[in-house]
Symmetry: C2
Subunit: 344 residues, 2 copies
DNA sequence: CATCTAGATGACAGCGCTGTCATCTGTCAA
DNA sequence: TTGACAGATGACAGCGCTGTCATCTAGATG
C-alpha cells in the first residue's frame, strides 16, 4: 500500500515470487495459452503482488518492435483531425497498443522529419493524414517494415492502405446541391489551401463548369487556417467585389459560420438572399439558426477503420492492401432552402 | 539514395565509419563538448553518411530514462485542451523531447491506469490536466522520479508545479460583469460537470449571492460534453421554466453559441432581452453577431509555460516548485451590452 | 627532467526484456 | 514396453545503447 519501494519490480522479481523462470513469466504476459493454467494463475498473482509493470524500452529493444502506432496529422486544433484522433483512440483502446502522435503543421518537411523519427522506433503501424506525401516520405513509408494507412483522402496510389473519401466528389456534390437549389452565382471560400482544400476546389469548379456557371472571379481564399473570423472576412471581401453572388460553398463549416454572421450583419437573408453550404458537418452546423447545409464525413469512423485495418494486417486476419472509401453525405439544411421554392 | 539497406545503421557502424569507438560516438551525440572538434566533425559526417538514427528503446533502456514528456488530458476534441496541446507542442519543438499523449476521458480510473503506464516508462516529466487527481494518482505522481506540472487550474496543494488560473475567480468576475451590466436574473448553464465546471459554478454562485441575486432554480446542466446543440437545448429548457431569466452565464462558449441561436429562434434580442456570457473566449466568440462576451484564458501560453517549467527543472536552471497563475480576462462584447444603457 | 593534470578516448558491463533452442515431463499408439 | 511426440518450462545469448572506469596522450609545473 504505502511506502512503495522505489525500484520497480522486474521480470526476475515476478519469476522469483512465482517460482518459475523469467521465460515463463514473459510467455504468460505475451501469450497466456503457452503456459499451463495453474502456472499462469500463480504468475498473474505474482505480477499483482509485485506491482510489476513491463519496461517498454526493454521489450522494444529485445523484440525489435514496439507496440506503438504512429499517427501523423497536420494539426491538433482543427476539429477535423481531433475527431479522427478520437476515433483512433477509441479503436486502439484495450488492444495493448500505444499511440505516438506527431503534428506536421501542414509542412511536408516537418512530416518527413517526424516520419524518420517515428519509423526509427519501429512502430507496429503508421497512420498518416493525406495522400500527398513527398517522394521521400512515400519511400520511407514504403520501405517501412510495418503496415501504413493513409487517411482523410483517397487516391489512386496507396502506399499500402487507405481510408477516406473523395474530397473532389464531395465538393462536386455540395456545389451541385447549390445549383439544384436554384442558386446561380455560386462562390467559393477557402482557407489553409492544403491539398484537400485544392481538391475540393476542383470539385466545385467541375460542378459549376458542367452547369455553365463557373466564374473564376467568385473565389476568395486565404492561406491562413480556417476560422469563423476568416470566413466573415473572406465573405466581406467577396460580397463587396461580387454583389451578384447568391450562394457560397465554404471549404469548412468554420468559414460558413463566419459567412452566416457576416450575412447577418449585412442584412442578407440566409437562405433567401444567400445560399450557404459548409463542409465537414461540424456539430454546430445542425444547431445554428438557420441550420447550415454541410457535407458529412465520417471522421471518427475513419480513425476506427484505420486502426482496424492496421490490426487486421498485424494479426494476419486481413493481409490485403485496401482502399476504403467511407463516402460522404450532403446534409441539406435551411441555409440552402432559398431558391428551391422559386421558379427556375 | 535508393535501395537503402534494410538494416538500420547502428552506433557501431558509425563508430567504424569514423574510426573511433562507440563511446565517442555516443558522447558526440549526447554532449558534443566532450569530444575534440576534429573528431566530432568526422563523427557527424559518418552519422550523415550512414543515415544513423538512434534507437530510442536502447537509449531508454541503457540510460534508465526516456526523453519523453507524458501529457494527460481528459479530451482530445475539446478545443480547450487542443489549444493547450498546441502550446505544449510548440514549446517542446527543437528540445529533443517527445510527447507521449494520453486521453483520460474525464475518468479518474482511466487517468490512474494511464499514469501507471506512463510512469513505468520513466518519462522525463509529466504534464497532467487538473488538480483533482485521486489519492492514488497523487501518490503515483509524488513518487515519480520526474518533475510534474498540473495545468488548467490552480489550487492550494500542487503535487509539484502548477500553471493555470482560478476557475472560481474567473466565473465570479464574469458573473459580476453580468450583474454590473444591469442584468438581474442571471442563470447558469453547464455541461460535462467536471471539477473545473463545478468550480466555475461556485464562482457564479458566490458572485450572485454577494449581490443578493442567487436563485438555485436558474441552473440548467447536463453531464454530456459541451456543445452548441447542448447549449440550445439547455437554454430552451431554462427559458420555458424560468421566463424571468434575463442573462445567462455559460460554462463554455459552445454552450453560449447554442444559446445565441436558440435566442434567435425565440426572437429574444441579445443583448436587450438576454445577456449572454460564455467562457474560454473561443475564436468564434469575437466573430459572432453579436459578439459574445467571454472569459479569455491563456491556453496556448499555459502549455508553453508548463513545458518551460519542466525543462527549467530538468536542466537545473529553476529547481523550485512553483505555482504560476496565468490569470484571465473578461472580454466584454455586445452580447452583454443590453441593460448597461438602462437605468439601474 | 620527473611529476602531475586535464582532456580525449576506449573497453566493457550491464539496462530488462524476448526469442531460440534445449530439456523434461506425461501420454499414447504400435 | 518402447519410442515418438506434444506440451510445458528453463537457460542463455543478445537487442543497441549508456555510463563508469581505465588508459593514454600532451602540456604545465616545480
Amino acid at each position: 500500500m504505502s511506502g512503495t519501494k522505489l525500484r520497480r519490480a522486474r521480470l526476475a522479481d515476478v519469476a522469483r515470487a512465482a517460482g518459475v523462470s523469467e521465460s515463463t513469466v514473459s510467455r504468460t504476459l505475451r501469450d497466456p495459452t503457452l503456459v499451463a493454467e495453474a502456472t499462469r494463475q500463480r504468475i498473474l498473482a505474482a505480477v499483482a503482488a509485485t506491482g510489476y509493470v513491463p519496461s517498454y524500452a526493454a521489450r522494444a529493444l529485445a523484440s525489435g518492435r514496439a507496440d506503438v502506432i504512429g499517427v501523423l496529422v497536420p494539426s491538433v486544433t482543427n476539429h477535423v483531425f481531433t475527431d479522427v484522433l478520437e476515433g483512433i483512440y477509441s479503436g486502439i483502446e484495450g488492444t495493448g497498443f500505444d499511440i505516438q502522435h506527431g503534428n506536421t503543421r501542414y509542412q511536408p518537411e516537418l512530416e518527413e522529419g517526424l516520419l524518420r523519427v517515428f519509423l526509427s522506433q519501429r512502430p507496429a503501424g503508421m497512420i498518416i493524414a493525406g495522400v500527398d506525401q513527398t517522394d521521400t516520405s512515400r519511400r520511407l513509408l514504403a520501405d517501412a517494415q510495418c503496415p501504413v494507412v493513409q487517411i482523410m483522402d483517397i487516391g489512386p496510389e496507396p502506399v499500402d492502405m487507405m481510408v477516406g473519401f473523395s474530397h473532389e466528389a464531395a465538393a462536386h456534390a455540395a456545389t451541385r446541391h447549390l445549383v439544384d437549389a436554384g442558386y446561380r452565382n455560386v462562390a467559393f471560400l477557402g482557407a489553409q489551401m492544403d491539398p484537400r482544400t485544392l481538391r475540393r476546389f476542383a470539385g466545385y469548379r467541375a460542378a459549376l463548369s458542367e452547369a455553365g456557371m463557373f466564374d473564376a472571379g467568385r473565389v476568395e481564399t486565404t492561406a491562413d487556417p480556417s476560422s469563423v473570423t476568416a470566413g466573415a472576412a473572406l465573405f466581406a471581401r467577396l460580397a463587396d467585389r461580387c454583389p451578384e453572388v447568391d450562394a457560397v460553398f465554404c471549404n469548412n463549416d468554420d468559414l460558413a459560420l463566419g459567412v452566416l454572421f457576416e450575412a447577418l450583419r449585412r442584412g442578407f437573408d440566409v437562405p433567401d438572399r444567400l445560399g450557404l453550404c459548409g463542409f465537414n458537418d461540424f456539430e454546430f452546423a445542425a444547431a445554428s439558426e438557420p441550420g447550415i447545409t454541410s457535407v458529412r464525413t465520417n471522421r471518427r469512423e475513419m480513425g476506427r477503420r484505420a486502426v482496424e485495418l492496421l490490426l487486421g494486417r498485424l494479426d494476419g486476419t486481413d493481409p490485403a492492401a485496401r482502399v476504403v472509401d467511407l463516402g460522404f453525405e450532403v446534409v441539406a439544411r435551411r441555409s440552402t432552402a432559398g431558391r428551391a421554392a422559386m421558379p427556375a
